[in-house]
């Protein structure tokens, strides 16, 4: 009877350890965005954004009749970093309050001035230059926003405001990120119960705890395989390369701690099962 109960507790422990791993990884991805200022964008993502912006400007240049070099002199790394900071605040608003923050905007004044000067230098009239330059600057500014925050902002904003009217989104997100602490407490409780049930021979509890750790490793591995098979990454990459880069950075920030945790569980499983077998091996020698 005790053995059956111990295996049942070990089964529950395996589930709780796996739940802790998955919720820990999700929280690691989301929590930086909930801090003041949001998640800072990595250098590699910003470099990719700059390349996409350059490509877009080269496409727009012949359409709006401006020089791509002039535009790239105005669209500097610092300005894109500032746009990324604004985008991080936009996400921060959703994660903390359930309502998006202020929509990022690229200041078009400098671009308009630079384009107008180019048009006048090419022989255009002042009035015509100003209109054409403003059009071109707006097109460039919109493209930059679409690369930094590649979402249909009115649709997302409307959806979030409708959802916020019905539920407290910020509270739900805080609750979901807190699940890992509940899972950890349940893990400690179950491991303690197993040790208590096997208190006369503590070594026996290593069999159950070690097996639960090994089972949790298998469950986490299965979850990762299912995620890989779901095809979410290629789906996002197909929709928007800049969103794919931002999402990839987010997944990486969650994947590294998850792999470390899984390795720790595997090491724990091997150590527990070896320690459980050792006294018998010593007796056999």
């Amino acid at each position: 009877m005790k053995k059956v109960l111990c295996w049942l507790l070990a089964f529950l422990l395996a589930g709780s350890l796996a739940l802790y791993g998955v919720s820990f990884a999700c929280a690691r991805a989301v929590e930086p965005g909930m801090k003041e200022g949001g998640t800072p964008v990595s250098d590699s993502v910003q470099r990719m954004e700059m390349n996409l912006i350059r490509e877009k400007i080269e496409v727009l240049a012949p359409i709006y009749d401006f020089s791509a070099e002039t535009a790239m002199k105005v669209v500097t790394d610092e300005k894109i970093a500032e746009m990324n900071r604004q985008a991080a605040l936009w996400w921060n608003g959703i994660l903390v309050n359930g309502e998006p923050g202020e929509v990022p905007a690229f200041n078009t004044e400098e671009l308009t001035g630079a384009f107008a000067a180019d048009i006048v230098a090419a022989g255009g009239s002042d009035e015509d230059a100003e209109l054409r330059a403003a059009d071109a600057a707006n097109a460039v500014s919109e493209s930059i926003l679409r690369i930094v925050l590649p979402l249909r902002l009115p649709i997302v904003g409307r959806g979030l405001s409708e959802a916020s009217a019905r539920v407290d989104l910020g509270n739900i997100i805080r609750f979901l990120t807190g699940i890992r602490w509940a899972a950890l407490a349940v893990c400690a409780l179950l491991a303690g119960l197993i040790a208590l049930l096997e208190s006369r021979k503590l070594r026996m509890s290593l069999r159950y705890i070690g097996s639960a750790m090994g089972a949790a490793v298998l469950v986490i591995a299965a979850c990762l395989v299912l995620y890989a098979l779901s095809g979410v990454d290629p789906l996002i990459a197909g929709a928007s390369p800049s969103l794919a880069a931002q999402y990839g950075a987010l997944v990486n920030s969650a994947a590294i701690p998850l792999f470390l945790y899984t390795a720790l569980l595997l090491a724990g499983c091997i150590a527990c099962l070896i320690l459980y077998r050792r006294p018998h091996e010593a007796k056999a020698d």
Partner: protein, 52 residues
């Protein structure tokens, strides 16, 4: 000789696999039953909200 004092065989390494089997079976069932629907929903959400 009681069960607990018997020398554990190499079968102990199978215990994690046996313990994980019910959860893996539930995951496989959920993936087969609801996986395509979830992927379709994600696909629709991405198409509706992402600027191409």
């Amino acid at each position: 000789m009681s069960t607990e004092n018997r020398k554990p065989g190499k079968g102990i390494w199978l215990a994690p696999v046996l313990l994980a089997l019910p959860i893996l079976a539930a995951l496989a069932f959920a993936a087969v039953r609801f996986g395509p629907l979830i992927v379709k929903l994600i696909n629709a959400a991405v198409k509706a909200t992402v600027v191409v």
